[in-house]
């Protein structure tokens, strides 16, 4: 018990730093910010695992030790409980007056049904009863220890469920522009993590098309701009060739396709642009996913037209759903697209040999590119409203903002251990309630004395902390047992 106590405190203490120091799993950006801000402390934190507390060896060691100690404690207690279940209630102590609750009453000489009534009264109160000689021994509340054992065993199963999920599960996210689709295939994920036992063949071959996405924001004075509704209408095809069916995907209402869940976890804007090169040919046309930077969806991204000739073109762009241009520079003041605008600067350079090397689609790598400048050396800045287009200086080409469309971020995942953990938790809570609220109690009733001076004695003992009503129960028993007419009445 002392070991468990120490390990519990160690666990509580060890869990705290993860809530105060940024964690890689939750926000990698904040971790790198932290390291940049604390050049001395950052690497030390990193080495001792403070940026990934919950997977660190020391944290794992604590909870594994806790579970080892739990199992080591539970096994002997299960054996003890099995013996106790078959055992008879303990023998009546010699001196009942020493018990925490004691009462006695005179009984008539000819009344020889006292012990029978005592046994019946105790059975009626759900005691296990054992009559021996001149006394009755009784015990109840066996479920307390059972609940205790069930609770602790369930915790082991919770951990087993979590472990199964971690080994066989997977989780990935993908950005889908409204109108486009996603098929459940490794190449289509933007990021993906899976357990060591997961194999690609486990991915169910479904596909999802996002037909439209409805989003509403608070326009009233209170919590202006807060999200009020996200709803995506999607078309699900469970496997290639199957008939597609319509589904509604909302926050709190994930899709379940086979064993896989699809959650709606984010959204943003994708301006639709058309870029023409110096020769007047369309070098790029379509929506460009941009990443929101703040609650008002000031979004940044890169428009790349590697096929523009004779020189390829690229744009560093800022899309603002409700654009305001003031001394803070261009920014968005509301998350909905009330006054959409795009700001961009322009880069150009000689065509590049396609290497097939993956590159970040959201940011521009300026290697091999030059920024397009005006005659006075100032960078060219483009500001476009929907429908506007501009011709770039020096005959470099043109760009047009055709419109905008939303994108949604879907999380696709499967955590196979969850049902095990959930059932185990239901057992755990039930067991916990039994172990805290069932009150084991022992009662002994003895008949003693000579003819003319016979008494019945009742002694009671509570075996758990939450003692209540023992004295009353003992008083009630002695009253019931000492009066024969009470029994005939019941």
């Amino acid at each position: 018990m002392r070991t468990a106590l120490i390990l519990l405190f160690a666990l509580a203490l060890a869990a705290i730093p993860g809530s105060l120091v940024p964690q890689r799993r939750i926000s990698p950006v904040r971790v790198s910010d932290f390291i940049n801000e604390h050049p001395r402390l950052g690497p030390i934190y990193d080495r001792v695992g403070l940026f990934s507390v919950y997977t660190s060896p020391w944290f794992s060691a604590i909870y594994l030790l806790l579970f080892v100690s739990l199992v080591g404690c539970i096994i002997p207690r299960v054996a003890m409980y099995a013996r106790a279940l078959r055992a008879r209630p303990p023998k009546t102590p010699r001196n009942l007056t020493r018990l925490p609750a004691y009462a006695k009453a005179d009984i008539a000489d000819q009344d020889d049904g006292v012990l029978g009534r005592a046994a019946a009264a105790l059975r009626q109160r759900h005691y296990r009863v054992d009559t021996a000689g001149d006394s009755v021994a009784a015990e109840r509340g066996y479920l307390r220890e059972a609940g205790n054992l069930v609770f602790h065993i369930s915790l082991v199963f919770v951990l087993v469920g979590v472990a199964i999920g971690a080994l066989w599960g997977f989780r990935g996210t993908t950005v889908v522009v409204v109108g486009q689709g996603f098929s459940n295939n490794l190449t289509q994920f933007d990021d993906f993590s899976a357990g060591s036992q997961f194999s690609e063949a486990d991915l169910a071959p479904f596909s999802v098309t996002v037909k439209d996405f409805d989003v509403r924001f608070e326009t009233g004075p209170v919590q202006r701009g807060a999200a009020r509704l996200f709803r995506a209408n999607v078309e699900v095809t469970e496997r290639p060739g199957a008939a597609p069916h319509q589904e509604v995907l909302e926050v709190n209402k994930p899709l379940r396709i086979g064993g896989t869940t699809v959650h709606l976890i984010g959204h943003g804007y994708a301006p639709k642009v058309t870029v023409k090169d110096a020769q007047g040919n369309v070098a790029f046309s379509g929506p460009v996913v941009m990443l929101p930077q703040d609650g008002n969806f000031t979004s940044v991204g890169a428009i790349k037209a590697p096929d523009a000739r004779p020189e390829r073109l690229a744009f560093e762009a800022l899309f603002l759903p409700t654009a305001v241009l003031d001394d803070q520079g261009p920014h968005s003041v509301f998350p909905d697209a009330l006054n959409p605008a795009m700001f961009a600067n322009v880069w150009y350079g000689p065509p590049r040999v396609e290497t097939g090397k993956p590159e970040n689609v959201y940011s521009l790598d300026p290697t091999g590119l030059r920024q397009l400048r005006q005659a006075d050396g100032q960078p060219v800045r483009i500001a476009l409203k929907v429908g506007d287009g501009v011709t770039l200086p020096d005959g470099k080409g043109s760009i047009q903002l055709d419109g905008w469309v939303r994108w949604v971020k879907l999380q696709i995942g499967d955590t196979p251990g969850v049902p095990i953990s959930l059932v185990a938790l239901a057992f755990a809570v039930t067991g916990l309630c039994l172990s805290l609220f069932v009150r084991p109690r022992r009662v002994w009733i003895r008949v003693r004395g000579e003819p003319g001076h016979r008494v019945v004695e009742v002694g009671g003992l509570d075996r758990a902390d939450a003692r209540a009503g023992l004295t009353e129960d003992v008083a009630e028993l002695v009253a019931e047992v000492s009066r024969p007419e009470d029994v005939s009445a019941t």
């Binding site: 405190f9 926050v251 999380q411």
Partner: protein
């Protein structure tokens, strides 16, 4: 708009009335300082005999775990005193008056805060626990409600001062610091678990608070008992063993409910965020709180950890609960940052 106005009016008034109730209980404690010292053992026997209404042949051990009640005030001056029974009677009458006044004011404050929560619900057209302000006012209703029931059923008036202090500070902070105007919910809160998870959190939080307050009183009383220095209001508290037992009952009630709260939160998180556990700061501290109270329950059955140490653990657990509620909401960013301040 009108509902919101009346809600705020009721809540501000309830904070003020709770404060008055606290003053009344403070006066009760102060007046009790003039009660003379009595022999604890003697008093115990007197109480039990008086309260149990037992038949003469029934021998009751002086170990009355079952009786939670405050010693009847008459018990004190019967035991004799230096300043004479007449004065003592006047003093205990005054103590009693202040105590009753405190409870009466608490009832008024409670009714006002219930009205405040209900009108808030009417103003918002939804369950009134969508942000930190609403959670606080609801939790205070539970805390004071439980306390009043215990005053009525089990004579726990001796909790009056700390509970009214808590309620005055809670509702006071709610209407000043935590206040946000009525607004609809963000989509992540549109769930049946919104009702279940948060009500369970509020009820178990209320029980943790009452249990924590009792653990503090336990430590105070125990210290006085050990120094043989039980006088004034401390004398009107039950014995430290009894306080410990009642504190345990509250915490033993709260712990499974808190377990359920965390589990319900995990289920909801699976629906809303696509993962049942993500080590969000709020989740982490909920687990830390859970682990500390698990430690409390273990400590109570570990030799050398019962009593004082267990009570200290219960207070640490309450601190962790409060840090999770106030600190995490206001100073740490995470998915549960719903304070809206």
């Amino acid at each position: 708009m009108r509902y919101e106005y009346y809600s705020n009016l009721a809540l501000v008034s309830s904070a003020v009335v709770y404060m008055l109730a606290m003053f009344a209980h403070a006066a009760e404690w102060a007046a009790a300082r003039r009660l003379s010292v009595t022999e604890p053992a003697k008093r115990e026997l007197v109480n039990v005999a008086a309260a149990d209404n037992v038949r003469p042949e029934l021998v009751v051990r002086p170990e009355p775990f079952d009786k939670l009640r405050t010693a009847p005030v008459e018990g004190h001056y019967q035991s004799g005193s230096a300043s004479g029974p007449q004065d003592q009677a006047a003093v205990s009458r005054r103590v009693e008056q202040f105590g009753r006044m405190g409870v009466a004011l608490t009832i008024i404050g409670f009714l006002l805060s219930v009205a405040g929560v209900l009108t808030r619900a009417l103003a918002a057209h939804r369950a009134p626990w969508g942000n930190m302000f609403e959670f606080t006012i609801m939790a205070m209703v539970f805390i004071v409600g439980v306390y009043l029931i215990m005053v009525w059923r089990a004579g726990l008036r001796w909790l009056g001062l700390p509970v009214t202090l808590l309620a005055a500070v809670g509702n006071g902070l709610a209407v000043t610091v935590f206040y946000v105007a009525v607004a609809p919910l963000v989509p992540a809160l549109h769930s049946v678990w919104f009702l279940i998870h948060i009500v369970a959190a509020a009820i178990s939080g209320a029980a943790f608070n009452v249990g924590g307050v009792m653990s503090i009183l336990y430590l105070v009383k125990k210290r006085a008992e050990e120094r043989n220095n039980v006088h004034g209001y401390l004398e009107r508290l039950p014995s430290s063993r009894k306080i410990d037992l009642i504190a345990y009952r509250f915490l033993a009630f709260a712990f499974p409910l808190w377990t359920f709260t965390v589990v319900a939160g995990a289920i909801w998180a699976e629906y809303a965020w696509g993962r049942y556990w993500g080590w969000d700061p709020k989740e982490t501290w909920a687990l830390v709180t859970w682990v500390i109270y698990a430690g409390y329950l273990h400590a109570r059955s570990t030799a050398g950890w019962r009593g004082t140490r267990a009570a200290v653990i219960a207070i640490v657990g309450l601190t962790s609960f409060w840090f999770n509620f106030v600190g995490i909401n206001l100073f740490v960013s995470g998915l549960h940052s719903y304070a809206g301040i």
